[in-house]
């Protein structure tokens, strides 16, 4: 196992998009009660296009790296297409195998994005 690639360590320790986004259009949250992870993401949208995204999190390296990388990949995408994002998209970004016990960590960002419809 090498879950902690330098890419994942970089993204989890110094996420470029960490922090609260002022004047954002969406604030979405997700929690993982089994580990106590707590995630809030902020999305700024103009003309239906995501122009900025950031997050605040209390979580493990895998959940932070997954969130940071996925949010980065959303910039320039249509907000309406968010629901098409799949687990595979997260895994492709992380480039590691995720064991069943860590799935909740890696896919916490998807739980947060899922709340956009509600």
């Amino acid at each position: 196992m090498n879950d902690y690639t330098s890419q994942i360590l970089d993204y989890s320790q110094n996420p470029p998009n960490y922090g609260k986004l002022e004047n954002c259009n969406y604030t979405l949250t997700a929690k993982n009660p089994s580990c106590g992870d707590d995630l809030t993401i902020f999305l700024k949208v103009e003309n239906k296009i995501i122009i900025d995204a950031s997050f605040l999190a209390d979580g493990c390296a895998i959940s932070k790296a997954a969130t940071s990388m996925l949010l980065e990949s959303l910039i320039g995408k249509e907000i309406g297409k968010i629901e098409n994002i799949k687990k595979e998209d997260v895994l492709n970004l992380l480039q590691i195998d995720i064991s069943s016990t860590r799935e909740k960590c890696a896919f916490l960002i998807l739980d947060a994005l899922d709340t956009i419809a509600s």
Partner: protein
């Protein structure tokens, strides 16, 4: 039997995890099982599988005899006055739900329940259920920053409306050994009618617990944390209190007679064991108690105390680690590596063959009180040794190196 060689008697412990010798330090979650326990379960299913308390045939009689023998072993182990005070349940959680639901039937609005901030969720949620139903008030004995209970003002929490004090003997996170005898004594001085419940799930596998000495009215614990199988727990209660208790589950075994109008209950303990019990599990539990007795509970305790002190000394030398809880403790050490989430710590340790627990260990209230999101927990049992501690320390250094 020799505690030094005990590890060889647990088949699971000889395997490799991720290419490394398994170092199992998640004993507070569940203990491993010695070969003799596994054998006794296989023996039951192979040679005398049968239902208990019913059939008049050889197998049923043998199964019943073996099952009932374990009740006596449990009674002796915790120094119960009578074998009839031992009720088999599914586990500590079921025992506590049973108590909350059955005792709670007689409570009135505004009656009070005392818990502590270090309770496992199993000793909080069932009381919240009944509190909501009956309009009861739950009060908590606070946890001090050093991880001990703040009992200085215990008397101010207790009054004539207090019905229950229910508390954990040894914290499953901090390893704190609570002075339950003293707490119960002081509580009953103010209100002698208080019923005292002690969760001994984390203490009785590791130290001598004498239920009469600690002045408890009920105690609850699980077989699987003391070398036995999962799915078996114990509820012990003073006989006169059990007589007043309404059954938790209705069904077969627990009746004397059933008519269209009403049911007369069986005698205690059958009254509280509706349905076919976990016969194989109870028999395996009996073998586990025999195993512990052969080594000796005091021997186990001093071995674990030695390991805990050794581990505390070693871990304290690591300046990147924060340990929670008091110095005087049972064999449970919860900690964090500064700036690293507990899941990442346990994932890297697992990569080195070391099994620890990470998360909040079913104690949200305690973690909130200590203002921490989650912790890593290493917990010992009789088969652990100094080498396990040294592997843990090496593993922690590796974690710190990766995340530095």
């Amino acid at each position: 039997m020799n505690i030094v060689n005990a590890k060889n008697e647990f088949p699971i412990l000889s395997q490799k995890i991720n290419g490394k010798d398994l170092v199992y330090l998640d004993n507070s979650a569940t203990s491993q099982k010695p070969q003799v326990v596994i054998d006794s379960i296989v023996d039951y299913y192979t040679n005398y599988n049968s239902n208990v308390h019913r059939g008049i045939h050889t197998l049923a009689e043998k199964a019943t005899e073996k099952y009932e023998e374990v009740r006596q072993k449990v009674a002796d182990f915790i120094n119960a006055k009578s074998v009839n005070e031992i009720i088999f349940t599914k586990g500590t959680t079921e025992s506590l739900n049973f108590l909350a639901s059955s005792l709670g039937k007689n409570f009135q609005k505004d009656d009070e329940i005392i818990l502590t901030e270090m309770e496992h969720h199993s000793n909080i949620v069932p009381w919240q259920f009944i509190a909501k139903e009956k309009g009861l008030i739950i009060k908590y004995i606070e946890v001090k920053p050093d991880g001990t209970l703040d009992i200085e003002n215990l008397e101010s929490l207790i009054n004539k409306k207090t019905k229950i004090i229910s508390l954990i003997h040894v914290s499953n996170v901090l390893g704190t050994i609570n002075p339950v005898e003293k707490i119960i004594k002081r509580a009953k001085l103010i209100n002698p009618d208080i019923i005292a419940i002690v969760d001994i799930a984390q203490s009785v596998p590791h130290m001598k617990v004498n239920v009469q000495k600690i002045k408890a009215d009920f105690v609850v614990f699980s077989a699987h944390k003391m070398l036995g199988p999962t799915g078996v727990g114990v509820l012990w209660g003073k006989y006169d209190l059990l007589e007043k208790l309404h059954p938790f589950l209705g069904g077969g075994s627990m009746i004397a007679s059933v008519t269209k109008e009403k049911t007369l209950f069986a005698e205690i303990p059958q009254r509280f064991e509706a349905g076919t019990p976990n016969i194989a599990g109870v028999i395996g539990f009996g073998t586990a108690i025999d195993y512990i007795n052969k080594i000796g509970i005091d021997e186990i305790n001093s071995h674990e105390q030695h390991l805990t002190k050794y581990a505390m000394e070693q871990i304290k030398q690591l300046d990147f680690i924060e340990i929670y809880g008091p110095n005087e403790r049972a064999g449970i050490i919860s900690f964090n590596i500064k700036g690293v989430h507990s899941h990442d710590v346990s994932a890297v340790l697992d990569n080195n063959g070391i099994a620890v627990r990470s998360g909040h260990h079913c104690t949200d209230i305690l973690h909130n009180k200590l203002n921490i999101n989650s912790t890593v927990r290493a917990s010992f049992y009789l088969y652990n040794n100094e080498n396990d501690v040294e592997q843990l320390v090496l593993g922690l250094k590796k974690v710190n190196k990766i995340f530095k």
